[in-house]
Subunit: 219 residues, 2 copies
């Protein structure tokens, strides 16, 4: 009952796609995420279905079984714990950790991940504000919203990012926005939905492409 690196990447991709859309995850959507051709995906789906990790109905898309969900969440747990380690202890910045974590998440050793978690002080979130699943696959979900959906003249705190690409994170760094940053929403331009916000006395305008990728919580 061991999963290969490739299978693990498919499970993770299906899991992430399931966050947006509950079931019937399409072959094409997976192909796009994995960066493989649809025919390759079909082959792998048969394999994952044989292993009871997904429910697969030809032409109708897939969904994770409980077994598959637990496997996926375990990879994500490892990924996020390693990201915390890289930032907290090895001087990585939040835009540098993802690629290395993509490799580290496949290391197989339950002692390793559990000891790592303890060493890090049982962190609840990774450097991008994403929650870290616990040993039993439970995820602490908080009711965050995206900055684009905030109401005017209220104060918010940045608690995460939707897009955690290196490019976007560097943009945020440049404008001194990170997890914990306080943001006051001043105005919304109706034409393009751009926001005028204030961060530490400084006022700036942000396009919707930006604000729809920043998670905040009202203070």
């Amino acid at each position: 009952m061991t999963t290969t690196l490739t299978e693990e990447n498919y499970l993770k991709a299906i899991y992430h796609l399931s966050q947006k859309q509950d079931s019937g995850i399409s072959t094409n959507a997976i192909a796009q995420k994995i960066e493989a051709k649809a025919s390759s995906v079909t082959d792998m789906l048969k394999k994952l279905a044989d292993k009871k990790l997904i429910s697969y109905i030809k032409y109708k898309g897939v969904s994770l079984t409980e077994k598959g969900r637990l496997a996926a969440v375990d990879i994500i747990r490892k990924h996020r714990l390693w990201e915390v380690f890289l930032v907290d202890n090895l001087n990585f910045s939040w835009d540098e950790v993802h690629d290395v974590a993509e490799q580290l998440e496949h290391i197989k050793s339950s002692k390793l991940v559990n000891e790592l978690e303890a060493f890090l002080g049982f962190p609840t979130h990774d450097p991008h504000g994403d929650p870290i699943p616990d040993k039993d696959g439970q995820i602490q979900r908080t009711n965050k919203i995206v900055l684009s959906q905030t109401t005017l003249n209220k104060r918010y705190k940045c608690v995460g990012v939707l897009d955690s690409s290196s490019e976007f994170l560097k943009y945020l760094d440049k404008h001194n926005i990170g997890i914990g940053t306080e943001i006051l929403v001043l105005d919304r331009e109706e034409f393009d939905q751009s926001l005028t916000i204030q961060i530490q006395e400084k006022t700036m305008v942000m396009s919707k492409a930006i604000t729809s990728n920043i998670y905040v919580k009202q203070l």
Copy 2:
């Protein structure tokens, strides 16, 4: 010019075999170490020779090129640094680290290994007393001997192990022998070369199978 996980394992195997015997490492010796069939080894040797990582003359065995040696030493550097991390920070004992390090040694990120080294305080040796190669592939070699070749009535310090299998390390744990342990050699039985030694007031007899796997330095 990237090396696959499998290629890396072959390079490491060839490197370790080269420590005992300088050149002309045989196909069979590699096969035994890798736990593969000789025919599989021959295939891989061609591949490694194509990549200029080894010098290979049909039927005459192989040796690492400088490029291959550096690649091998880099894997070993990572392996040993991770072993230090596991023991120093994640509560692993020296008999538990090897299998996990076998996985971690293949993670590709020069920032990761260099930052890890700094985080660990630039350790010179791993938990088994083996030297950690530096960034440039240099290895600090010390003139250690095996316990079986010591002279009577002299005091030694354990500085490493030749056999670092879990079984052997557990045996050493049971008898309170570890890196740094002081050993006084009292007597040698000529018949079977067994040694009577003294460790912290306690006297014990050890077979040659044991004493030839413990590295010591005279005090």
